[in-house]
Structure formats: C-alpha cells, structure tokens
Symmetry: none
Subunit: 496 residues, 2 copies
C-alpha cells in the first residue's frame, strides 16, 4: 500500500469516528436538556457502548498499522497536521484498557445522576459512594497515562484537555497568580465601595429573557440554522459544529446572569460553527484545546460582554425586552456587569474572584489524583481555601460548596485550570486584536463587533487544530502565553 | 465452545445492537423535533454510518457462526424464542447485498426530499423519475427476499413488517372486507344524516392543549419518568422503551385532532414502556410487529378513546382546560369523535372510511411490486379506487391523491396493510378483554380504564416477541385473527 493510500484510509476511519461522535454528542445534549430521569440507565449504557466502539476503532491494529505506513514527508502540510492529531489521539486511546474506559463511562453517568439528586438535597454523604468509584477510576487512568507519557499523574490528566501543557508552566503561572490575586481582589472591592448599585427588580419572564438572549446571539453572529438555545441545570455548549446546542438557565428574579451566560456559550458556539469546513470530519478540524475554547467564550463574555461599550449597546435591548427600570440606567448597568463580590458559586463569580475558585479546585483535584488526600477530605480543604482566598464560610453548605460543579462527577479532573488559562489567553488575544485593528473599540462603541469577531475567526476559529497551541498563540499574538495581559486587563477595568 | 456459551455471546452481540439502536432512535427523534435545518446533512451522514455499523454487526461471519453452533434444545423456552428472533433478523439482513441496502438508502433519501417539494406543488411528473428508481430497487429487494423465503415478491416485503403473515391470509381478510365495507360506510353516513353537529370554536392555545393531553396521558398510565411529549410536523412515537418520545401537532382552530393523536401515540407508548423488562436488550423483548403495535394505539384511540363512555370522561377535563362552549356538550362531543365522512386524506380519515384508504394502497403497491403495473399507472388506479370505494373524485389532484403519503418514497411497500390488521386486532382484543373482565365497560364509565389497560399489559405488552404473532393472538383471544370482531364493532358503533 502506498503512503498516500494509507493516509486516505486513515481519513476514512476518522470520518467514521467523527460520525460516531456526532451520535454521542447529541445523546449527551439530550441527556442534560430533554431526557426524563428514568431514561438515565439505558442512556448511560448506550453511551458507554459508543465509547467502547470508538475506543476499539481508534486502537484497532489496522489503525495503528496505517499510521506506521505513512511517510509524513509525502503529505501536504495540513495533512501532516492532521496526521499529528490522529497520532496523538490513537496514542492517548491505546494506553487505556477498554474495560477501564467502559467502567469510567458507566461510573461517570451514574455519579452525575446521583449528583443531580444530591446537590439540591445538600447530601454529601449520599454522593460519596458513587463519587469514590469515579475517583478510583480516574487515579487508575492517571497512573496509566503518566507511565505512557513519562510525566506526573495529574499532569497526564491535564494533557487530555490541554495537549502539551506541562505542569511546571501551569504551576509557575498559578504561583504567580497566587501572589497578586488576593491583593488585586481586595483593592477592587475597596475601589468599588461607595459606588451605589441599583439591583434589577424582577420578575423577569423566561420567554422575555430567552428572546433577549437570542437577539444578542444574533448580534454576535450565532447561526440559528446550525444550532439552538435551550435550558439545562448547568449551562454548556454541546452538539456538533453543524448543529451547536447551547444552554443557559433562567432565574425569575434576575436577568443579567442568564444573559452573560448566553454570551459566554455563544463564544464557544461561534468557535465551533466556524471551524475549518474542509477539515470538518477530521481531527485537524476540531477546536484546539479547552483553554483555547474558553478563551473564545471569555473573549465574548468578559472582554466584550462586560465592557462599558458593549453594555451601552445592550441597554435599549434590555429595556425593550424587559421594560425600563432604574437598574437599567447605563452607568448602573456597567457597574452591575463589572461588580466584584466574592461569592460561593464559581459559575456566578465575577471576573476578579473567578481565578480564586480555580486555584481552590486545582489544589484539591491535584492532591486527590496524586493520592495526597481522599474524597472524605474534600469538604475541609474546600472550606479552608474559601476562607483563605475569598474570606467566605461554606461549612456544611455542600450544595454551594464542593457539590456545586458537574466536572468531577464524570472524572474530568484536570479540566478546571483551563478556565483560567482561557481567561489569560482571552486578554492576550484582545490586546493583539486591538493592535491589529486600531478601530476595534470605536466600532464596538458604534454597535458593531465585526472587527473583533472577524479577527477571532481568522486567527483562532478557522485554524482548528492545524497548529499546536503554542504556535497558534504565537501567530495570533506574536508571543507565548503571557498572563501579564490578563493582570493588566483586570487592573485597567477594576482599579482604573 | 459449548452451545450455551455461544448463546451468551450472541446475547452480548444483540445487547450491543440494542444500544446502537438507542443512539439511532434518539438521533432520529431529535431530527424530527429539535434539529435546526442546517444540521440535516451531518445528521444523515451519522445515521447512515450507524446503519452500516448495525448491518455489519448483524451479518458478521462471527454472528452467523455463533448461530450455527447453538443447539436450541439446550436452551430454556424463552431463550429459544429469543434465538428464533435473532435468527430471523440475521437472515433478513444477510440476504440483502450491502450495495442494494446503500442504493436504497440513497434513493429513498433523494425521493423523500423530492416528494417534500413536489407534494405542495402538485407535481406528479417531477416526482416520477426519482420514485421510479425507488420502485426499481424495491422490486429487486422483493425478488431477493422472495427467493430466500420461498414466497411471493410482495409477500416478502409484507413480512418485513409482519413476520410470518402469508399473503393468502391477508388476501382473504381484505377480500372479505371489500364485500362489506362500502355498504357499511354508506349506511353509516346515512345513519348520521340529520344529526346536527356543533363544531368547536378556537382559538385553542397550544399550552392548554398540551396540558390537557398530558392529563389524558397520565390517566392512560403513561409514565413521564420514562418518556415525554413534544411537537413534530408528523406525529409519531419514537425513542426507546426506557424513554419513549411521542409527538403530536397542535392546530389553533381545532382541539380534538391533537388530543386523539396523543391518545393514539400513548397506545404505542404504553406498549413500549411495558415490554418485558428482563428481555429489554434482546430481540425477544421488542414489540411483536407493526400490526400488533397499531392494535395497541387503536385500542386506546378507537376502541377506548372514541367510545361514548370515554368521551363523557373527557368532557370536564376539556372544559377545565379550554373553557366551556356548546360544542363540548357531551352528546355533541361523542358525535364529533364518531363522525363518519369520506375524505381524500388517509391520516384524517374516520374509523369507517380508513380501511378503504388501505385497500386502495394495498392494491396499487402489490400490483406495482409484482410488476403488473408501472409507476405511470398509479394516478388512474388511484382515481378509480377513490371513486369506487369512497365516491370521491381526485383526478389531477396528486397532492391529496397519490402524493399524500411518505411511505412509498423510501420504499416502505408492504407497510400499509398493517394499519388495517391493527384495527381488526384491536377490536378482537377488546372483545376478549370484555369477556375476561365483565366489569370493564362499567369501570370505564366510572372513570377507570385500569381493567382494560391491565389486560392489554398482561396479554400483549408483557409478551414482547416471546410468542409469534398468531400464537400471541390465539392465547390472548382464544382464536386466530378474525376480522368479524372489527365488522361487529363498526356496526355497533356506527349503525347501532
Ligand atoms: Zn466556557
Ligand atoms: Zn399508529
């Protein structure tokens, strides 16, 4: 077989995997938005079976034989990039025993379902048994992956979401942040003190909020021919690039949380909808990594969505959708969008205290995976960190404490750091976009986010996974990931 | 390998198929209820890939080898039934050349899409070319299956939907119906003449109609922990037994059509939800056949739902949900539910004229598959039959004539007869349930359908495919399928 025939056969294999993944993505979306409780067991089985199938396909001897036969020099540069991604995926799958993959899928689904019941009931004890099994399996995974990659256990999990990120880099970024974050946070709180804040008065109907959200989504270029907006307990962006499913949740007494959540998910969604069309069914056509993904949601939510210029755009739409009231006065709206107030819930956190939530989770999950603590130790660690980082007491409040996130329930350890890496990258990208497009802020102030969106499309969305992350960042911004842009952005916005 | 090990491996293989089917069922439901237009191409690709996977799994040499190794005598009786169903499925898949399966899938998708354009445009000529290819491929399929089964060509297609039904039996049932149906129909129309009918006056809000529908579903025992109700252009019952998804469509100017549609789909849904739990993942745990499935929807819609006793139950709920009006007076409601009026459209037809629509389609599709007529001959045959059976003129009206149904566009020849077989079986089952439970009608009149539902559960739902259809009918009713019960039911209700 020629090298190029082998490559074509490998593409056919990954096209098949892409289609299997489509079915899994839709079943996963349905599970969180539509599925009745009683459907969970059968769904979990079906999705586990799909994981096994995909794992088998990726690790088949035939797949590895094809990989071996290809001479990269015979390929076009973009095909070489695709081959690099294929190789990594096959390697990452091959190290995992199929029984472990299946056990994780089943345990994750079960734990998530238990979590959905235990969280509202504040029932940590009820959550523990199924969660303990998830942790056990993740530790096993970490051990296996670390051995294969020749790195640390937690690092090995991190690399599932952020290929090639080494723990030392992350550590130095986070250690740096540990130095300046608490100071910046208290300065920001002090800086806002005395500014009076008028809170919006509900009730705000769900239908009105949804219409407003859809209007903003359209303004941000979301393509409703290839996606939809629904409701789920925990907002997310799922589906497939041709059919992106994003969700939010509405509160009757509040209107900005759901809206900012929609803007956030729209950032994820536009990335997905604008991945390179010609690589749609291949690994090279996928989103680059979780941190890059998050940088896109935060470019829209934080960099753009909470900027004074954007909030002024928003005001008339808010008034049209929900009626006018004193809280919707422009300067008050800006203060609301930029209010810094340490709280218990990560997803409701403001931009300045958010990294503290990440540091807390990072410390705990790393210790958990490395075997330094056990699941029973989590609440105490959680309380200590909340006290230290945000000055808040969560003792006994599992619901708004260590039971608040979905991530750990299906074993997604190593994911949390990508949120803060994404925030840093978003600030860095925004700075680069401003340099490339000097009219960018003026145009946003006139109601047109096109310069920013087009710049992101060219420099990030259309790149898919054709470049590795460091190279993507360097080409887009002229330098490596540099958290200084983020710190600068926070100082500008909150201490300016 | 021992025979019992082979059987266990075969069960594992069918469990895997069951889980794949779950993903397909959910993606199919989503496609018709939730998916935005632009998602169609990727979805079609994903679902076609799944069909290929399932076909490959069913026809794999390993699967056939396992089948050959099993000694049925070594199995328990229920395992033997399961083996019988497995064997039939593998055989039905194996006889078909993969190229023909693929060609049919492509031609069907193309023809369905042409149909969607041509039907509203009344464009028969535009529909013909793609339809001719579908017929050509279905004739090829019929030839291959007939040879494998040693039966007639149309019969071979019929057996895809109604395993084991021979054409002679169907012929004799339909020939009999041809004798009495036209007379009964004109008698029923004459019998109703003069009875004045007050039509409901809308608008009826969708939300109010949905709440009413859900209330009736609950009364009929639908389990909302394992299913949901949504909206689609063409009502259907999909999903999986653990999570049954049924749909309806609402019209603002009308309220009984959607409600009766919901009752109909609830019949399908209760059958699915109550299939035998211990055989859930195996062929023996599936619904028996299309005719038996339809008998369950019609037991609830026609036998129960349009009975005077049920309609009297319905009245206060209707008034509570939609407000009172003269049309909702009990006797008028009963007349509305039992109105006989020959019309052009099958799906809108009443219980008495519905079989005429089936006879017409049966005659045409049978002649078409046997090669006695060509697609060009369909309109003339259609017009003749409509004139003869229902006294209606459809010349030139393809839209409401031979272009009205979706079934033929993807080559589902042999499906239509199951609607009328289902209606007959429903009447026969109802008669048997009445004999078994003498209090059945009195209890329904008191507002409790439990005796009927429990009888269906025991005698039909819980049987799955453990018995073959003739045996299922015999055990439940004490005799073979006997259309006399149906004729008797129609005479009682419409000439009584
Ligand atoms: Zn995000
Ligand atoms: Zn039906």
């Amino acid at each position: 077989m020629t090298s190029s025939t082998a490559y074509q056969q490998l593409e056919a294999c990954f096209t098949r995997l892409h289609r299997y993944a489509h079915l899994g993505a839709m079943a996963g979306w349905d599970q969180l938005t539509m599925m009745p409780e009683g459907g969970n067991e059968a769904r979990a089985e079906a999705m586990a079976e799909l994981s096994v199938l995909m794992h088998e396909t990726l690790t088949a001897q035939e797949t590895r034989r094809l990989l071996d036969e290809i001479d990269p020099a015979s390929l076009e540069p973009e095909q070489q990039a695709n081959l690099r991604e294929m190789t990594r995926e096959v390697r990452d799958a091959t190290v995992m025993p199929p029984e472990l993959v299946e056990a994780q899928s089943l345990a994750g689904a079960r734990c998530e379902s238990v979590w959905r019941r235990c969280r509202p009931a504040n029932d940590w004890e009820g959550f523990l048994p199924t969660f303990r099994e998830v942790v056990r399996l993740s530790r096993e995974e970490a051990r296996i992956r670390a051995e294969a990659l020749g790195c640390g256990r937690y690092e090995a999990l991190l690399q599932k979401f952020e290929p090639g990120l080494n723990l030392e880099t992350l550590e130095s970024i986070f250690d740096d942040m540990r130095q300046w974050l608490p100071g910046l946070l208290s300065e920001a709180v002090a800086h806002q003190r005395g500014g009076e804040l008028v809170m919006p008065q509900g009730p705000f109907g769900e239908r009105d909020q949804r219409r407003l959200g859809e209007r903003v989504m359209r303004w941000l270029g979301f393509d409703f021919e290839h996606g939809r907006l629904d409701v789920s307990l925990h907002p997310f962006c799922g589906g497939v690039p041709d059919d992106v499913r994003l969700t939010t949740r509405y509160r009757e007494d509040e209107c900005l949380t759901a809206l900012m959540g929609i803007i956030h998910e729209t950032g994820h969604a536009r990335y997905e909808q604008n991945l390179p069309q010609q690589w749609r069914r291949q690994p090279a056509g996928r989103a680059r990594s979780m941190a890059v993904h998050e940088s896109q949601s935060l470019s829209l939510e934080m960099q753009l969505g909470r900027s004074a210029a954007f909030v002024r755009q928003l005001r008339p739409w808010l008034v049209e959708a929900l009626g006018d009231q004193p809280a919707f006065e422009a300067d008050n709206l800006i203060r609301l969008a930029q209010q810094v107030e340490p709280g218990l819930i990560r997803v409701d956190a403001d931009e300045v205290s958010y990294p503290a939530h990440i540091l807390l989770r990072y410390d705990i999950e790393r210790a958990l995976i490395e075997g330094e603590i056990e699941v029973e130790d989590i609440p105490v660690r959680w309380d200590e960190s909340m006290q230290r980082l945000l000055g808040l007491d969560t003792r006994g409040n599992y619901r708004d404490g260590c039971l608040q996130d979905i991530h750990w329930t299906d074993g997604s350890f190593g994911y949390f750091p990508t949120y803060s890496l994404g925030a840093m990258l978003a600030a860095q990208l925004m700075a680069a976009a401003r340099r490339a497009e000097p009219q960018l802020d003026a145009r946003i102030a006139e109601g047109d986010p096109g310069l920013l969106l087009d710049w992101l499309k060219t420099n990030v969305w259309q790149q898919g996974s054709l470049l590795e992350t460091p190279e993507l960042i360097r080409r887009a911004t002229g330098e490596a990931l540099n958290p200084e842009h983020y710190r600068h952005h926070l100082r500008e916005r909150y201490l300016g």
